[in-house]
Symmetry: C2
Subunit: 517 residues, 2 copies
């Protein structure tokens, strides 16, 4: 089926008589309300995407669904126009922040697919390469949701060109109930040109897990019944299936294979065993290099802010490896109004009622601001994996989800750097012993800390796999030798400086190129 | 002490030597970190308000505090400039949405008092009446926080005029570390005129529960030590006291007394006993009046939206009184994109970690939107009172807090209407029996529902007191006879219509007056 033919199947002037409609509605409403009630007691959320060409019909439908179902457990989220906050964040942020809690239904207007594609148009032309990339991002986002148990029901309200013309005619004659707005006129104007693109979107983003439901939207009664019945069928089918999300594979993870036949990330091999833990800095050299790096970092922070450049720093590492102290060396060079340090501990119950990445999206910085995560989304493939808190399918899927998450940050222009602070078991034990004498209450060691040491090897294996699978040029891992705190701190400071410098220089160069054109 | 004299006490050119500073800091840091750690395990939050004239000093201080304390459990919230979302909500909303979770510290810049006063200035003149009203609002907001256990530490960084001039001189000479920005110049320009107003703010908003700490900000070392020590002293004092919030009285509640010597709200007396439950509507009259009211409401909804007018409807009532059905009759007249129905059930743990009003502030609509609460903040003085979930001091305080909350909505221009749907015990029993046969799962009756009937009289007394204490012309209660669902629905619909019509007409009239000036 060619892209142009996608819509032919629904251009059949489908009509429903008043009698048929009125006879069917009462039963449908009871069933929909009961399905919604069951959903409230279930462990998943539902997103109904209302896309298509029929804006008037969509709004009518929205009101009908609010009458038919329980408005108290239904959210309406509109993506046009984007807010100032939306525009200051990566494009997927606006979807993440509007995701419904488990047990609830959200109606998304317009569908995010066409909305997210809208900004690819320039002078009416769509950039084909950008289109492909965006479609891929949408597919991955939808897959991530469905893999987490979110049910996506995507509905496309179609109108034929002749129906649009009929509506314009009625609108001009001011017939009762008729209206034909600027949006409708725009659709009509671009009909021939736009339809193939819409067809391509429908084809490209309709998958087995989340197909598009194409509905002829010309007649209100037909539209209502068709949408109501699709919703009911889909809601009931999902509720009847086991409550565990459908198992999907982890998707294509790109793994370069080295000459030794081992998988590598295609960059320098990075494993904990490769980290040389011996380097040490004496106090004098430390003070000199730290101060120099902090001065540089302070200046770079200013420039980044002026240019609206954001930084995301992710810190992981063994207990007592020195994350807190290292983070403080960075923040003391920055202005406290423009960064936040987010400690990751047990999730709140609102966080638990969302996809595990939601709590990190919450804190993604807006343009010109920075976020430092003290422990991160990698908990999924570290502690949750090793301690058995997440099922194997879930943490395996996470590698790909994480790579995509970070890519969305870097695609938005952010600097993303990830650090694993590495120490050996002896050094950890020595630090635990020292902490038992510390004046600082928050560093007090518990029995739990000692217990965690027993699984050192399992954690180390998890770290190596994590680095191999998620190291990317746009979001690199740095394994930092931290037996010596001074050299670890200096290494992190200098790495952040270098990353910022490179990005600022690249922006400068790209600006110059644009100017010289 | 006159307003002009307030600041004299701190204009003493206080200096701290480097030796004294460096000797004191290490111990202060340990103590501050430990206090912060104890706070993390406590049941209250801390807001440090950083106000005053020294912007440069404030920013330096901010960075110092981030170095000294644990940045991961400290939020920085800036109130200038207000965001577009801030401006589309009542003025206190921006404070509410930034309130820290229990166990955390938030640093508020600039202090909200001067920020909230800033927009009272027109052509450099402050409107004295508006000033008094705003100060009163600030006092009440602060009292509400402290009564809930939030610790407020308000710090004013003062600069003398001569110090400001010195800084300008140094800035011009580009001495190391010196800077003198536009903000500083503005303070200097308006010094004579502004100072008395600042003095009045300090005097008016400094209370026993939340005094201002005035600090001479001229010298960095002095400023750091003074602020650090105040913070430590205040944090430790609060931690050492019992964890229950200080008991404060409920504040002046205005009660009009009628000729019979009974308290009334100054409006028509409203008690449940006064409600005539006999009126009934036959189906024909119901259909006619309902349809007419819905058509009116639909049109009024459109006009309200165009004018940026928001509506807040609060629904309370006996179980099975018909809240859900009544709400649906309203929403079916409105556009689903512009209203939300918020069902109030058990709070989430993020909600529990805030003042009980926080979860309602969360859903306060932005300009042009509406929120319908299905059960409300009145739970505090109904179920929480009767079932003993809240202590008497807490629910008694709530009357005043609620009146202030609603006043902030109405002061922002919102239409606020409150409904108690009233039925008698026999009618409730009949509805419970009918529901046991319903097809709708969500209406199923539980043993809990029957148990609640045993406390009918206690609830009725609580309702009467609630209405007497919180009925206000700008946020009136309507006791709606609901034994007959039809007449209840029509009464609510017509009441909402009338409130909207009156408000829209008043706006129209005020616009005309402005134009004719």
């Amino acid at each position: 089926m060619s892209a142009e033919d996608v819509f032919e199947v629904v251009e059949q002037e489908s009509k429903v008589s008043r009698e048929e409609h009125d006879a069917a509605v009462p039963e449908l409403r009871v069933a929909l309300l009961n399905a919604q009630c069951d959903l409230g007691n279930s462990d998943h959320s539902v997103i109904v995407v209302l896309g298509g060409l029929d804006f008037q019909g969509r709004d009518e439908l929205l009101n009908t669904l609010h009458e038919w179902m329980d408005a108290r457990f239904m959210d309406v989220e509109s993506f046009v126009p984007p807010t100032a906050e939306d525009e200051a964040h990566p494009i997927a942020w606006r979807v993440w922040r509007r995701m419904p809690l488990r047990g609830r239904v959200a109606l998304f207007l317009s569908d995010w697919t066409t909305t997210m594609l809208a900004d690819l148009q320039e002078d009416g032309e769509v950039d084909a390469e950008a289109f492909t990339r965006r479609v891929e991002a949408i597919r991955r986002l939808e897959k991530l949701m469905t893999a987490d148990g979110t049910q996506l029901i995507k509905i496309w309200l179609h109108l034929s060109k002749s129906e649009l013309k009929k509506r314009r005619k009625k609108g001009r004659k001011k017939q009762a109930g008729a209206s034909f707005g600027d949006e409708d006129q725009a659709v009509l104007d671009e009909y021939e040109k736009g339809l193939p693109w819409f067809g391509r979107i429908i084809e490209a983003t309709g998958t087995a897990d989340s197909p598009w439901h194409l509905i002829d939207s010309a007649q209100k009664r037909h539209r209502e019944l068709a949408v109501g019945r699709v919703l009911l069928r889909e809601l009931e089918a999902r509720l009847a299936s086991a409550d565990s999300p459908p198992v999907t594979d982890s998707g294509p993870v790109l793994m370069a294979v080295g000459a030794d036949g081992q998988e590598t990330s295609g960059r320098q091999p990075k494993t904990l065993a490769d980290v040389d833990l011996t380097p040490r800095l004496d106090e004098e050299e430390y003070d000199e290099r730290r101060k120099a790096a902090q001065a540089r970092l302070s200046q770079l922070g200013l420039e980044a802010r002026e240019q609206g450049l954001s930084t995301v720093l992710a810190f992981e590492g063994w207990d007592a490896a020195g994350k807190g102290g290292t983070i403080r060396r960075i923040t003391s060079a920055w202005d406290a109004r423009y960064y936040r340090v987010i400690p990751i501990a047990a999730p709140t119950d609102e966080e638990r009622a969302h996809h595990y990445l939601w709590r990190f999206w919450r804190h993604v910085p807006r343009d010109g601001h920075s976020t430092i995560y003290d422990r991160t989304w990698y908990g999924r493939v570290l502690v949750e994996r090793v301690e058995g808190f997440a099922e194997e399918a879930a943490w395996r899927r996470a590698y790909d989800e994480i790579v995509q998450f970070e890519r969305q940050l870097s695609d938005h222009g952010m600097v993303v750097q990830k650090f694993w602070l590495h120490i050996d078991p002896d050094e950890q034990l020595a630090r635990f012993k020292a902490r038992e004498k510390t004046l600082y209450k928050k560093y007090k060691i518990t029995a739990e800390d000692y217990r965690n040491r027993e699984r050192w090897d399992e954690y180390a294996a998890a770290v190596d796999e994590m680095v191999a699978r998620t190291d990317r040029p746009s979001a690199p891992w740095h394994l930092v030798a931290s037996n010596d705190k001074r050299s670890a701190r200096v290494q992190v400071l200098e790495t952040v400086c270098q990353a910022l410098e490179e990005r600022l220089a690249a922006r400068q160069a790209s600006k110059k190129r644009k100017r010289s054109r």
